[in-house]
């Protein structure tokens, strides 16, 4: 076993520490998918690392002893690996169940009669996109309270923003990010950054439709203030997202937000490094296994 086995974990740490700053600097569309791929690969690398470490606990098999001689792994490290794997498996199971349940409820809402826009008889201001099936569909759900809190231009921005989520299939990225973060809690900040980039992407699409950055910024501000004025909205855990509306508004009030495409390559290279390291560690391991079988 070589030190490469620990690299996927290191990549997770780097992603976690940098994700907030990276999210603000990445171009939204390409950035959200790059980060999603990075999160999924890093989570898979975590699983693999922990499996390899855990397997070293099996002392009686000579192959594992041979593997351990390359880089000695203390039993405690192996046990930590097994523990991470166990916690990750339970968290992933729970996250998957939550996703399936939410999807089922959303599908019921999406199956109600009407067109793409589904207006809800509720005075509290709220709006969200309900993803459709693989064949498309999907709906924009808006409360009457939200429609009344906005003027014509702001409603245009709202509808364009939600439609953008559906077209860009952001729900897929969010679900993958959620599962990756469940497997490895280090990736929770990465999940948040992916959520932020989804919102930024939809905001920029809304700018194209509405024809004005200011208009979209005003729509966001008006909707957010209407929501916070409505007492019932506070039943939600505040600050869960930590990707504040204020940050989106300030990005919209900037004429041309500066993004760095080179960062995409940096994130991509780091992800490949994690995948390569996992592969390398596996190869050592596999060659020893082959030796054992051939004997």
């Amino acid at each position: 076993m070589t030190v490469a086995v620990y690299l996927p974990l290191l990549v997770c740490v780097v992603l976690a520490v940098s994700s907030r700053a990276v999210a603000k600097a990445l171009p939204p569309r390409a950035g959200l998918w790059t980060l999603t791929a990075a999160a999924v690969i890093a989570a898979a690398g975590t699983v693999w690392t922990c499996l390899l470490l855990g397997s070293l606990l099996v002392d009686d098999i000579p192959a594992f002893d041979a593997a351990e001689r390359l880089v000695p792994v203390h039993d405690a490290v192996s046990l930590v690996g097994v523990a991470i794997l166990g916690v990750g498996a339970v968290r992933s199971f729970l996250a998957l169940r939550r996703l399936v349940q939410a999807r089922r409820r959303l599908r019921r809402l999406g199956a109600l009669p009407g067109g793409e826009l589904l207006v809800v008889a509720d005075a509290r201001p709220d709006a969200f996109a309900v993803p459709g099936s693989r064949t498309g569909g999907g709906r924009v759900v808006v409360t009457q309270g939200m429609l009344r809190a906005l003027d014509a231009g702001q409603r245009r921005a709202l509808i364009a923003h939600e439609r953008a989520h559906l077209r860009a299939r952001h729900s897929v990225a969010l679900a993958l990010a959620e599962l990756a973060a469940a497997m490895n809690p280090l990736l929770v900040p990465v999940r948040r950054s992916i959520g932020f980039l989804c919102e930024r992407d939809a905001d920029e699409d809304a700018v194209v439709v509405a024809g004005s950055r200011r208009l979209v910024a005003q729509a966001l501000a008006a909707a957010a203030l209407a929501r916070s004025a409505s007492a019932a909205a506070s039943s939600l855990a505040p600050g869960f997202h930590q990707l504040s509306v204020a940050e989106r508004v300030s990005a919209l009030l900037t004429p041309e937000p500066v993004t760095h495409r080179r960062l995409l390559w940096a994130v991509g290279a780091m992800t490949l490094l994690a995948a390569g390291a996992a592969f390398d560690a596996t190869r050592d391991f596999a060659s020893i296994l082959v030796m054992l079988v051939a004997r």
Binding site: R103, R105, A160, E162, A237, H241
Partner: protein, 126 residues
């Protein structure tokens, strides 16, 4: 300044249907096509508004009242009450944690609220 940028906008049929339907929902009572034209911001041709209202009527999403030519329109509210119940089921089920639900805006903390009010005020005075 505000709204002039709309001349550059590209809007699909789905987007326009949504805008017109949401204008009807935001209104207090039935509206004529001319009133709808104003309510969606006034940058759509009357004929466009009329065509889309007719399409929405054919799809069963708006009621048309009164004689042809002087008709008024109001949204069909059939599913709205059921939708409210189902929406609460979705939100209470924890989907609002952002896993798959993409909310337009989330809750604000005090600092955010102050920042937004400042941004809006600056807009209003320009």
């Amino acid at each position: 300044m505000a709204g002039r940028g709309a001349a550059r906008s590209r809007r699909s049929a789905g987007q326009l249907e949504g805008e017109i339907l949401s204008a009807l929902w935001a209104a207090d009572g039935p509206m004529t096509a001319a009133e709808v034209q104003v309510a969606v911001g006034g940058d759509l041709a009357y004929n466009t508004v009329h065509t889309i209202l007719t399409r929405l009527h054919a799809k069963g999403q708006v009621h048309r009242l009164g004689p042809a030519g002087r008709s008024t329109y109001r949204p069909v509210k059939g599913a709205a009450e059921v939708a409210a119940e189902q929406m609460r089921a979705v939100l209470n089920g924890g989907a609002d944690r952002g896993e798959i639900l993409m909310r337009f805006v989330t809750t604000l903390d005090a600092a955010d609220e102050a920042a937004l009010r400042a941004a809006l005020d600056a807009e209003g005075s320009s």
